[in-house]
Amino acid sequence: MAELNDQNAVTIPRVTMNLFRGCLVATLQVDLTPRLIEQFQRDLLDLLAESHATRVIFDCSGLEIIDPEEFESLCRVTTMARLLGARVVMAGLRPGVVASLIALGITGDGVLTALSLDDAFEVHEQAEQSRTPGKDEHHGNTV
């Protein structure tokens, strides 16, 4: 079993993250496990601190199932990212995923969302525009 712990970083698939015009795009495609999310959280925060990116997009279009716990963990990651000065938009949640999350009592309050990756960039732009001086920084969309 010691072997399992050692090869942690090797066998667990990591979430692909790409910097694209100052925006960090994380493509969530593999099944979310607690370990994977933990790893993803570390990687993302490290990368944010390193790159000073202010825009993050979680591309969820590849996920067929997200259970409420996994969703809550992702939300926690977005809050952590916000503390590092970045805004996270969840993009491409599928109808089936959304229906089951809502049925299981998830409200999705305080989460920025977008239909697709393309839309997510626009949501970022709009959020930045609405963050004019004098206005509350967490205007409208956050917890």
Binding site: L93, P95, A99, L101, I102, T113, A114, S116, D119, A120
Partner: protein, 301 residues
């Protein structure tokens, strides 16, 4: 005997009809053959007194045709060849009755009338070589087969009626979720009638599927046609708006009447950040503004 499928055997078994019964009916049928027109005539004298008569049999041509069918029916009955074909002929009667809307009560009354007429013939009809004992046994056999016929007819009748009902409710369900794209990127769903949890679920599924398919960023749910908004309905609506939000599509609830606004607040329902407008027009204008669309009348100078 011709082909007898499993279902035919089941029918015969459940009514306890055996070969002896069928033979008795058949031999009584020999006597009845000549009397059939008279027998059917008596039936129509009875039928004429029923309220359904005017509705279904006022056309003389139709009446004549139905009478011929009636004679055929009893000829078939006294032939006593119960096979798959026989059952499907019976089942067709149920189909016809269901299609024309001839109710079961009158059908039962008719079968009851025929059965008691047959009993009269059996016991008082001076049939040669028919002892009381044989008459009794024949009566029992006939009753069994008449009941089987009736059961087959009722079975088909109720099956067809149920089919009709489920077809209608399916049509109603499809009609009730006409999610339409009214503009590039704007979806509209006018909800009419009552919202229960089942319908709310259907609405949500239809809406989410349509959002994913059309990639719309604004969704307008018009509830001006919703009769009652109570806590349960409001919660369903809130869930729908949250679900669309998770998809990345903004939901506006339009058609909130003053009465609804009052009840919502009085019931202490937390509408959260739900975007609401009084009329569909306001919602549409708001949607256009957010999409950056400007409409201008052509006549304006």
């Amino acid at each position: 005997m011709a082909t007898q499928g499993d279902s035919t055997k089941d029918w015969l078994d459940s009514y306890g009809i055996n070969k002896v019964d069928l033979e008795r009916i058949h031999s009584f049928g020999e006597h009845m053959r000549a009397r059939l027109p008279e027998f059917v005539e008596a039936f129509y004298v009875w039928l004429r007194r029923q309220p359904e008569f005017v509705e279904h049999f006022s056309d003389p041509k139709k009446l004549a045709r139905v009478r011929d069918l009636q004679v055929d029916y009893w000829r078939d009955f006294f032939n006593a060849q119960v096979d798959d074909e026989y059952l499907s002929r019976r089942s067709r009667i149920g189909e016809v009755h269901a299609r024309i809307g001839l109710g079961l009560p009158v059908y039962f009354a008719a079968m009851h009338f025929s059965l008691s007429t047959l009993a009269d013939i059996l016991f008082e009809g001076e049939i040669e070589g028919m002892s009381d004992r044989v008459a009794m046994q024949t009566k029992r056999s006939i009753t069994k087969l008449v009941h089987l016929d009736t059961a087959v007819v009722v079975d088909t009748y109720s099956r067809i009626t149920n089919e009709k009902i489920s077809d209608q409710s399916r049509a109603l369900l499809e009609m009730s979720t006409p999610v339409t794209s009214i503009w590039q990127g704007i979806l509209l769903l006018p909800v009419v009638g009552l919202i229960d949890s089942r319908r709310a679920q259907d609405l949500m599924n239809a809406i989410l599927a349509k959002i994913a398919e059309s990639r719309s960023r604004i969704f307008i749910l018009d509830i001006s046609g919703v009769a009652v908004v109570d806590t349960a309905v409001a919660n369903h609506l809130i869930k729908i708006t949250k679900a669309t939000k998770l998809m990345g599509c903004d939901c506006t609830l339009s058609g909130i009447s003053p009465a609804i606004a009052q009840t919502v607040v009085e019931l202490g329902i937390d509408v959260g950040e739900m975007r609401t407008t009084a009329t569909l027009r306001d919602a549409l204008e708001d949607a256009f503004r957010r999409m950056g669309i400007e409409l201008q009348s052509r006549t304006t100078k």
